[in-house]
């Protein structure tokens, strides 16, 4: 009876991936406790609830066979796009950004859905055209990608747009877009930088400028970066110890339980902690890439690869920004930062990976 229950629960769970994810989540909870001042467990309990919900989503998604996921790709994408349009038209404005849809009983951030639905949609598209992918197909994929990215950039939400773009781009890249075209795009991208610069909002420009010289505006836009690098740097090799980070505990690190939680972690656990975290990420990414490499359909391969590389993007962009080598964009540290929405889409993504990994035999047989 118990073993049957265990079987139901664990049948679609990928062991190695799950272990690494659980370790990272556990690490996250300890840091969230510290980042909330170490005085109350409210935030930890809140995050535990977020994890429970996201884990449930992971389990549900893992139990959906890839073929079923493929059938859902188009409807989810279409619904997500419709919601993004609705946001643009009727969305709620908070802090100067129009990102939320008020449904009366709750608010929804449709851009989060796109982080999952864009790779699914593009993978579905390339799967349908796998017999001979032509340049036209890449163009179609580019349009399918550009629509949601454009809508999210306009909200504006640079961090999410970046992740959606990354998730779609990885599909296109893995589908075999020629290197020449990639090189062409890179050159075109660089050439259009001045133009893009003109399109950025003031605060976004300031973030980029601040990265180049944070001391320019130490109390304004540069404050975040200066304080987080001080936190990390002062942590040294072994860190100041859990709950003992002065930068973190005395409020010098802004947004310390969400986007800047790495500053808390790096200060209290030092280089050793950072290396451990990176190791866990590498493990997760390696396992994801392995699942992608062994997947049996084009859809499964592209989806698994894109989900895994999107996860990498999360980790790299966040760690890069908190340590002061990338501009500040609103990207959480995956599996560690406090917050439910990003965690939900992330674990749903791991659910897809596990679905692909555990349904492989059925498909091939």
């Amino acid at each position: 009876m118990i073993s049957r229950l265990f079987d139901i629960v664990s049948r679609r769970i990928d062991g190695p991936l799950m272990v690494a994810v659980v370790l990272a989540l556990a690490l996250g909870l300890t840091v969230v406790y510290s980042a909330s001042g170490g005085a109350s467990v409210d935030r930890v309990l809140g995050q535990a609830r977020n994890i429970a919900i996201a884990a449930a989503a992971l389990w549900v998604v893992a139990n959906i066979p890839p073929q079923a996921l493929m059938r859902l790709a188009v409807p989810i994408y279409a619904a997500g796009l419709a919601l993004l349009v609705a946001v643009a038209l009727f969305g709620e404005v908070r802090n100067g950004a129009r990102r939320w849809l008020n449904l009366g009983f709750t608010t929804l951030q449709p851009s989060e859905i796109m982080k999952i639905s864009v790779p699914l949609m593009l993978a579905w598209y390339f799967h349908r055209h796998q017999e001979g992918i032509k340049l036209r197909d890449y163009a179609v994929a580019a349009v399918l990608l550009a629509l949601p990215v454009g809508l999210v950039v306009r909200q504006p939400d640079l961090g999410t747009a970046l992740l959606i773009f990354a998730s779609g781009f990885f599909v296109i890249f893995l589908a075999g877009l020629s290197w020449k075209l990639i090189a062409g795009f890179v050159v075109a991208g660089l050439a259009s930088l001045p133009f893009l610069w003109g399109m950025l909002h003031d605060y976004q420009r300031r973030r980029v400028l601040t990265l180049l010289d944070p001391t320019e505006d130490p109390l304004g836009a540069g404050y975040h970066i200066i304080q987080s690098t001080i936190a990390i740097g002062s942590g040294g090799v072994l860190g100041k110890g859990w709950l003992n980070g002065t930068q973190a505990q005395l409020d010098f690190v802004p947004e310390r339980s969400t986007d800047f939680i790495l500053a808390v972690f790096g200060e209290e656990f030092g280089l050793a902690g950072n290396l451990l975290l990176i190791a866990l990420y590498v493990l997760i990414i390696a396992r994801g890439l392995m699942i992608a490499a062994n997947a049996s359909t084009t859809f499964a391969r592209l989806t698994a690869g894109a989900v895994t590389l999107t996860f990498f993007t999360y980790a790299f962009v966040n760690m890069g920004m908190v340590s002061g080598i990338l501009p500040v964009v609103g990207v959480p540290l995956p599996l560690v930062s406090y917050g439910g929405t990003a965690l939900l889409s992330m674990l749903a993504g791991f659910g897809i990976l596990m679905s692909i990994s555990t349904h492989k035999q059925l498909v091939s047989s």
Binding site: L174, G176, I230, G270, L289, S323, I325
Partner: protein, 632 residues
Amino acid sequence: MSIGLALRDQRAELSTFRARLLVAGLLALAAFGVLVARFVWLQVVQRAHYHTLAEANRISVVPVVPNRGLILDRNGEVLAANYSAYTLEVTPSKVGDVERAIDELAQVIEVSPRDRRRFRKLQEESRNFESLPIRTRLTEEEVARFAVSRYRFPGFEIKARLFRSYPHGDIASHAVGYIGRINEADVRRIEAAGLATNYKGTDHIGKLGIEGAYEKELHGTTGSEQVEIDAGGRAIRSLSRAEPQSGNNLVVTLDVKLQRVAEEAFQDFRGALVALDPATGDVLALVSRPGYDPNLFVDGIDPANWDALNNSPDKPLNNRALRGQYPPGSTIKPFMALAALTYGKRTPEQTISDPGHWMLPGVSRPFRDWKPGGHGVVNLHKSIVVSCDTYYYGLANDLGVDAIHRFMTQFGFGSRTGIDIDGELPGLQPSTDWKWQRFKQKWYAGDTISVGIGQGYWLATPMQLAVATATLANGGTPVHPRLVRAVQDARTQQVRELPVRLGDKLAIKPEHVELVRAAMVDVTRPGGTAVRAAQGAPYLVGGKTGTAQVIGMKAGEKYDEKRVKERHRDHALFIAYAPADAPRIALALLVENGGHGGSTAAPIAREVLDYYLLGKRPERKLPLVAEEAEGD
């Protein structure tokens, strides 16, 4: 074939995919490599640098202000004390619209119009980042009410502060002085003296009087505390603390009870009084009336009170005892007599016949005696007792102004007495040199004649008169007046007596001094000009009255003081010492527009002498009459 092609296609696609995956994986690994390098850079290579920055972030060194020393009178009565109270302070630079914030604050705790005016004045005088009090002396309830809605008032803070209080109010205000908020001039002074570190956190400084002059003793040594602060600048905990060292207490020479008697004796008159211990120069009382309440200045005086004090025609802020320069009038006659004896210009027996005026050879205008018709036959003794002007006109002419100058400067006239508080003025002892330097004019013989009765160019402060009187009273040893007699160390509680400073004994003969003093005693006896000073007293008083003219009188014109306005009435002067045989107190006083010394000034002196020597006030309160009475 199509299947085979499809399979081959699939295989090709798979290998492309895996190649791409490998590239992506390697790129990801390289990216993590960059992050690892970054972390090594920050956490290993640059660790010391960032550690320093983090410590600088969290540790703030806060000055701990020492308690200011107390000021005690000679009997231990407190003249300046400290008390702790809550203030509500604002740092304007941290508040956007200060006026609006204060409006909102007024809904939580009371902010009176006076508080607002005072705050506005402080704001004008200070820099924007200074913390300025908007309300002082908050009650516990007000503190609690503010604490509840504190979040609404960023930049506002409740502070427990030590306040200065002067429990005796305007009594002795001119001697004690007051402290006030440090202004820009003070800051420059502090910086020039290299004391900037010791004044960190201090926002008050002694401005005047003993508070000003003994600032160094009273202030103490500022301590410091290392506190851990959060990003909002709030102190979290103390890391280490160097205790401040309180300022030293001062024991002053004043007897506040005597001081009060002296001040109250003036009733509503303006004027000044200085009483000294003739043996030491200790200031027993230092009066300048009207006084002011120094408590008004402690936390910034509000404009209404300031204007009232500053614009009053009574000039309550002017320390008349040290800064009032008046013609000393007949009070200098005993010193003139002493000069005559010392320089051999008169003998005690020598007499003149006084017709009521004196003629300077070659000048047609007569110099009039105060008494029409004159005093008849007058010798040195009588000249003092009846204050005969004619006697001194001739004497001054015989002495010459430079001999007068030489003799009088020995008694302290014409220069600062060196009392241990600031602001004293030097008076003026005229001489031919002085007139030449000042006006580029030669000295006329006629100038000397008015100097002979303490008029003309001669100006003296009440303090100078008191010093001269004390010198006469002790037999000729010049005294240096002092207000502070001892310093009590804040740490050891040990009392360090400050040395008494006395000048070299003057080259005057004791028998001459005796002659003059005998005459001064008769001044206060029946037949003298100041009978009221000693009537019925169980001790003998030596004294001399005087009158300082406020407006000049034309030759031949009868001066009818009933007709001139009160402000143009003469100033009344009196100098005295007692007991006459072994003086324990010497004083000089002036009543502005008091008329003649005998009628208004002498009764005030009597109250002071009685209280000091007998410990009580005279049984019969003497009315002060600011009118012409017989005598000068």
